[in-house]
């Protein structure tokens, strides 16, 4: 039998101290991945004996210049014959590391395979052709490395021989890609000028790149660290299952971060129930002593019978994840059908799965393009930021707090269609670790809507002071009430006298003011009332937050009265005070009002009467399903 295999394709037997790191080489197609892999195998002494000479001889015979990528092709062919190595999982050794190379195709068509491969990597090498420079797939892969949480990225600028080893060309590319990656929060560990074909910069700093004083590729790989379990973070144990094989009731899962031990007081999220860990179960030895940490699959028993289920997250008291129904996420999309607003999806976060609705899509872009064209749908292989409303509460962390419980995948028709990072969970939702049991209303929504002849809603009137918000709100309140409805006025200034009396006018306090208004309003809306909010709410971001909170019940009305008209009205005397310098931070004389872009209705009260404007609002409410536009068969609804 004449079978050969590079020694280094075999893993180090257990017990050695050489860390194993898994890497992907990514980048635009034809920028030299195969050549670099061939060269790396050669430089690290991982090639079968005589292989290189043989291929060089074959090339010479055929009158072709030898290419390093032949080596991979040759290995591939032999692999297909069952003889040598597998190009999808090549290993080699550097001075102090075992490096496992994970397959990650460069073709855009195979982005899902690139993602599958790169998600398993500890580090990545992003390869760029010195002649072609940064291309769309370079940027796309860079962006995905960021989304996948691959933090260790080395850049190699290949084919330096084609640009005469020009230091200035190198710097140009280095600056461009570094700026791009740093903008994404990924700092390259090195940017290395190389010629994979000739060997410069791969294992040696040759005279042709004497102007470069950073690490070689092999040195950069040698400096990679294997991914570390997140032991120093707060405990997160997503529950996989509850086992009752015998008299023990074992809560099983993998510790994603932190550590635990028998006796610890823990909280089961999102319900917020408290218990103590009685024992850490194991097999064949049980119970387990000590405190198992991140990365371990464990089973624990609790000191009391509590309802725990798959999808719950166990944490320590005082450092729990957030309990939320609303998440903002930055995602990549792999499905043929673009993701649109209103889409019904399945979200998986940790071991929890829940139905969800895409409430809003923002910043949908092709990460490969330089000048990003924003769209309202996320196409295949594109990325975007979305607001998700979840059908049931979930325990989650922003990914900046915990990368394991701060990421999610999206499933469509039983197949993973995308994934991404949790940017934020609706603020103020940090659960209090006590037995909170929300009491549901005794009435069904349809009982209420049958009586009021409208659905619950949040009408958000925004505009400058003096624009007529309160006047319109009061007129509308009277109109709806007269028709048998149940409107409730929530005036910003009125609430500031009570609920929000602790808040001032800093940007932060204004945000909190809006959040509270929105929470109260949505509570009313859920109970069938029409909450009419009249608040200046100058910040677009704050109103977007209110829309996330109120979700599909939200109707934004921009009271767009010109500022000079507002100032001439000045019902509360604020403009006069502000002009006199007695009222700092007053919206109206400042320039801090950000008008809405996508509101449901715009009304200029300087051009129309109050009854006329009220009619218009009523029509919008009927059109968008809040008011029943004709008499419905009430009996059918009860």
């Amino acid at each position: 039998m004449n079978m050969i295999i590079p020694t280094a394709t075999l893993a180090t037997p257990n017990g050695t101290t050489r860390p194993q790191v898994r890497i992907v080489i990514v980048g635009h197609v034809d920028h030299g991945k195969s050549t670099l892999v061939g060269r790396l195998l050669h430089e690290t002494g991982s090639l079968p004996e005589g292989k290189l000479e043989m291929l060089k001889a074959v090339s010479a015979r055929r009158g072709m210049p030898f290419e390093w990528s032949f080596l991979l092709d040759a290995l591939q062919t032999e692999r297909d014959q069952g003889i040598t190595i597998d190009t999808t999982q090549i290993s080699f050794r550097t001075r102090s590391r075992d490096v496992v190379l994970i397959d990650a195709p460069g073709h855009a068509e195979f982005l899902r395979n690139m993602i599958t491969g790169a998600s398993q990597a500890d580090g990545a090498v992003l390869i760029i052709d010195a002649l072609e420079g940064v291309r769309d797939q370079t940027r796309r892969h860079g962006y995905l490395l960021h989304l996948l949480g691959v933090k260790q990225v080395a850049i190699v600028v290949n084919k330096m021989d084609r640009v005469d080893f020009s230091a200035s060309r190198f710097k140009e590319i280095s600056d461009e890609i570094s700026a791009h990656l740093i903008g994404l929060g990924v700092t390259p560990s090195a940017v290395i000028p190389i010629s994979a074909r000739d060997g410069d910069g791969v294992a040696e700093r040759t005279p042709r790149i004497e102007w470069y004083d950073g690490p070689t590729v092999v040195e950069a790989l040698d400096a990679l660290e294997p991914a570390r379990p997140l032991e120093t973070l707060a405990l997160r144990l997503p529950v996989q299952a509850i086992y009752k094989f015998d008299d023990r009731r074992i809560v099983a899962g993998r510790i994603e971060s932190g550590s635990l031990a028998a006796g610890d007081e823990i909280v089961i999220m999102p319900a917020g129930k408290i218990a103590r860990i009685r024992s850490v179960e194991s097999w064949p030895v049980t119970p387990l002593q000590g405190s198992p940490g991140a990365g371990r699959s464990v089973g624990i028993t609790l000191d009391r019978e509590l309802f725990v289920e798959r999808g719950d997250v166990i944490a320590h008291v005082g450092s729990t994840p957030r309990d939320t129904r609303r998440i903002r996420a930055r995602i990549f999309w792999l499905h043929d059908k673009p993701l649109v607003e209103g889409a019904s999806i399945l979200v998986r976060l940790g071991t929890r799965e829940t139905r969800a609705t895409v409430v809003a899509i923002e910043k949908a872009v092709d990460p490969g393009e330089l000048s990003s064209v924003e769209t309202k749908a996320i196409a295949r292989n594109h990325v975007g930021e979305i607001d998700i409303s979840l059908a049931q509460p979930i325990a989650a962390d922003p990914y900046t707090d915990n990368s394991r419980t701060g990421r999610l995948v999206i499933e469509v028709n039983g197949r993973i269609a995308g994934g991404g990072l949790v940017l934020s969970v609706a603020s103020g939702q940090r659960a209090i670790p006590v037995d909170i049991v929300p009491v549901e209303s005794a009435l069904r929504p349809d009982e209420r809507s049958a009586r009021y002849r409208h659905n619950g809603a949040v009408l958000w009137l925004t505009g400058l002071p003096g624009s007529g918000k309160s006047t319109l709100a009061r007129a509308l309140e009277r109109r709806l009430f007269s028709a048998g409805g149940s409107p409730v006025l929530l005036d910003g200034d009125t609430l500031r006298a009570g609920l929000n009396s602790d808040l001032g006018f800093s940007a932060r306090d204004r945000s909190e003011n809006i959040r509270r208004l929105a929470e109260v309003a949505v509570h009313l809306a859920r109970n069938g009332h029409i909450a009419i909010v009249a608040a200046v709410s100058p910040a677009r971001e704050d109103r977007a937050a209110a829309r996330r909170i109120a979700d599909t019940a939200f109707r934004e009305i921009y009271v767009a009265t010109p500022v000079d008209v507002c100032e001439s009205r000045d019902p509360k005397g604020h403009y006069a005070k502000a002009r006199a310098g007695a009222l700092h931070g007053f919206t109206g004389t400042g320039n801090d009002y950000q008008p809405p872009a996508g509101c449901e209705l715009t009304i200029d009260t300087s051009r129309r009467s109050v009854p006329d404007a009220t009619d218009e609002i009523e029509r919008m409410l009927a059109r968008s399903g809040v008011l029943f536009d004709e008499l419905v068969d009430l009996a059918a609804n009860i």
Binding site: L10, T88, F245, S282, W283, V285, S297
Partner: protein, 305 residues
């Protein structure tokens, strides 16, 4: 017949003091400011084990009717061990042996002994006769294809929606492209070009009606990992893996299509040393891999493991 195991080491594992790798050094030197032991650092095998346990538990939680394919070889024995770790001593689904009837006597003896000792719900399913198999396949592949057909029959008989198989990425090129949760068509086939994305340990676990999933809990292990873990955990093995008269089996299949390799490794320690220096691939002794360029891929597309 002697089957390898080492009672004294198992006894050591069962002792009340924590096993190696999960304990900490003396208390005095390790107490940290919060008064608890720092978490023990995980070594390579601990990490592999934890990942496999996670996969087992996901499969058990998300599929309705699972079976574990027990080929009696070193890999599937490690798999059973890991299942017992995942489920605290028991394997909560059937162990399915699709029997070609042509295994080594040592393998059948092993099955009969450990099927009982490990309290497995053992289901032995015979394979159809060679005459019923595609005659265009090369001889060894044709012989192996019986197993694929036997598997299809078992699937039809029990209606499993998930089959747990002990394949590894480092074994063979087409296996390297596998997912951990790998959907199969209604005919049991595998479409390597249309695999769903799989990342962050979130798995595609919704097979369409009539189709099933293959679950690969040790996909990320290597041959050396299997041996190192077998040694650490003292998992019994079939003695054919150890050298006798200068030869041993690196991989065990049907008697007539499996050949031993030249070796002097008479214990696991020596196997590990041998593996570290070898240039011969693991399945070199498996005739069916080498008959034609695509024989193995054809088998896998049709549903072979």
């Amino acid at each position: 017949m002697h089957l390898l195991d080492n009672e004294s080491t198992i006894a050591r594992l069962r002792r009340a003091d924590p096993p190696k790798g999960s304990s900490a050094a003396p208390m005095s030197s390790q107490i940290s400011s919060n008064g608890r032991l720092p978490p023990p650092t995980m070594d390579h095998l601990d990490a592999l084990e934890a990942q496999s346990i996670y996969i087992f538990r996901e499969a058990f939680a998300r599929l309705k009717k699972l079976a574990l394919l027990w080929s009696l070889g070193k890999d599937s024995n490690v798999m059973i061990w890991l299942a017992r770790k995942a489920f605290f001593g028991r394997v909560p689904f059937p162990a399915l042996h699709v029997d070609t009837g042509k295994k080594f006597a040592e393998m059948y003896a092993f099955r009969d002994r450990y099927g009982k000792e490990w309290e497995l719900d053992l289901k032995i399913e015979p394979c159809p006769l060679l005459e019923t198999i595609d005659p265009t396949l090369p001889p060894a592949a044709r012989s192996a294809a019986r197993k694929t057909e036997g598997l299809k029959l078992a699937l039809a008989k029990y209606g499993f929606d998930g089959l747990i198989a002990g394949i590894r990425r480092d074994e063979e090129a087409t296996r390297a492209k596998e997912r951990v949760f790998s959907p199969r068509g209604t005919e049991g086939g595998w479409d390597v070009r249309d695999q769903p994305p799989e990342f962050w340990d979130q798995f595609n676990a919704s097979p369409p009606p009539g189709a099933h999933l293959r679950i690969h809990p040790i996909l990320h292990w290597t041959e050396a990992d299997i041996w190192a873990y077998t040694q650490r955990e003292n998992i019994p093995i079939i003695p054919l893996y150890l050298a006798k008269d200068g030869k041993r089996y690196r991989s065990l299949g049907d008697q007539d299509i499996t050949n031993p390799v030249a070796s002097t490794a008479s214990n696991i320690e020596e196997i590990l040393i041998e593996l570290d220096g070898t240039r011969v691939p693991e399945r070199a002794g498996r005739a069916l891999d080498h008959e034609t360029e695509d024989a193995f891929e054809r088998l896998r597309v049709a549903g072979y493991l």
